[in-house]
């Protein structure tokens, strides 16, 4: 009895796990991985073999100052864009048809055209209005490539941030507004104390992505003669014709972005700890 029972149990047991076989898919995967690893190793080896202390001593300060310019551009235009995005987001939600259409057109234009074309439009294009700009005393501002770049980036990121903000505010349920109204809070109080704290949690990740996009996009200013990290790299390359200059720039951008990604991850984990179980 007990014997047949245990035999029946043995039948019910799952079959023993087979040792993984070298199927065709697995071999292909390993080969592809090996190719990638070799490519990565090749870049590292190239960097090690072409390591030149003289070059490093000469151009490292330039890279640092370029990095500082990049950080400045990104920080200033992201903050200014955040301020500018508030009225646009409000306009997008406005009940007035004309205001809503204008805000939508703004967002559509800046999200639908390349950042490079926008930067050129402002840097080269506003030059056509030189007499008018001089008349209102703004020419000094638009003459400098640096200010033009920040202006273009601010307008661009404002459009994206307005969409992020609008999406985040709309993600907060209507019930929150109604409950706050029932408690007798004014609309502004509701927005500041109830809706925004919840909306910004939702928006945090998107904001992080937007800053990362800005960092990568800021390389464009090198074309309009601002010496940011990319500009310094181009200058170093044009002097040395050493290809490693670009690899170093890529590594710096990569570590900047990675740092930001980790920072937003940490921030999100810290800020949403009340939502975790």
């Amino acid at each position: 009895m007990s014997l047949s029972q245990s035999a029946a149990q043995a039948d019910d047991l799952p079959p023993p796990v087979e040792a993984s076989k070298w199927t065709r898919a697995r071999i292909t995967g390993v080969v592809l991985l090996a190719i990638w690893a070799l490519l990565g190793l090749g870049i590292v080896l190239f960097l090690v073999s072409s390591w030149n202390p003289e070059l490093f001593r000469r151009y490292a300060p330039n890279y640092l100052s370029g990095l500082w310019v990049t950080v400045q551009i990104v920080v200033i235009s992201t903050l200014a864009g955040a301020v500018l995005s508030v009225p646009i987001a409000i306009g997008r939600r406005s009940k007035n048809r004309i205001i809503a259409a204008l805000a939508y057109a703004y967002v559509y234009f800046f999200r639908g055209t390349p950042l490079l074309a926008q930067t050129f439009l402002i840097y080269y294009g506003l030059g056509s209005f030189r007499p008018e700009l001089q008349a209102i005393g703004l020419w000094g501002f638009f003459r400098e490539a640096w200010y033009c770049a920040i202006f273009a980036f601010t307008l661009n990121t404002a459009a994206y941030q307005a969409e992020i903000l609008r999406g985040a505010v709309e993600s907060v349920g209507r019930g929150q507004w109604e409950a706050a109204a029932a408690l007798g809070l004014s609309r502004f109080q509701t927005l500041r104390k109830i809706v925004l704290p919840q909306a910004l949690l939702v928006a945090l990740r998107s904001y992080g992505n937007e800053v990362i996009l800005m960092i990568k996009g800021s390389a464009i200013v090198a074309i309009i003669t601002v010496y940011d990290l990319m500009g310094e790299t181009r200058r170093a390359y044009s002097r040395t014709f050493d290809f490693q200059t670009y690899i170093w720039a890529a590594l710096i951008y990569l570590s900047l972005v990675e740092f930001l990604r980790i920072a937003t991850d940490r921030m999100e984990r810290r800020l949403t700890r009340h939502l975790r179980r």
């Binding site: 055209t113 490079l116 926008q118 050129f120 439009l121 990568k216 464009i220 181009r234």
Partner: protein, 152 residues
């Protein structure tokens, strides 16, 4: 992204032309983003689909072609169409490595005629028109794909 374009461009222009260099760089960037979209689409397909296909005796290849891919396309299309619009804008970067795209031609025209604002405005409008057209096409494809399926 841009340094990638430059990376390929500056290394390669010596041997092959800028068009191929730009294409390789943009293709590499696009493939990185697209692979992320595909990975998340693959993850969204439940294991049961594979097991069900195995149970009715489909080979791995047939499982992929008849069961997984039709669902995968529906899941990946929104992400891919987003990427398409981003790529459309990113192509403007190839003008930096000397390709005669919209931005470069505009720059030449602007330099000759001194009407920079007009020409760059037209360039922006061209990009907008391309974006509008392709979003029409993409939403048509999306509608076509989602019509043929059941409600998820």
């Amino acid at each position: 992204m841009q340094q990638l374009t430059r990376l390929a461009g500056s290394e390669v222009t010596i041997e092959i032309n800028a068009f191929v260099a730009g294409m390789i760089a943009l293709g590499a960037v696009f493939s990185a983003y697209a692979s992320e979209v595909f990975v998340s689409a693959f993850r969204a397909i439940p294991r049961g689909q594979y097991e069900g296909a195995y149970a009715i005796g489909l080979s791995p290849w047939l499982t992929m072609r008849l069961v997984i891919l039709p669902q995968l396309i529906r899941l990946a299309l929104p992400g891919l169409s987003n990427l398409w619009l981003i790529l459309l804008k990113e192509t403007s970067l190839v003008s930096v490595i000397g390709l005669a795209d919209i931005v470069r031609q505009t720059g030449i025209a602007a330099r000759v005629t001194k009407e920079a604002f007009l020409f760059f405005g037209i360039a922006c409008l061209l990009y907008l028109i391309l974006a509008v057209l392709s979003s029409f096409v993409l939403s048509a494809i999306e509608r076509r794909v989602s019509l043929s399926g059941a409600v998820r």
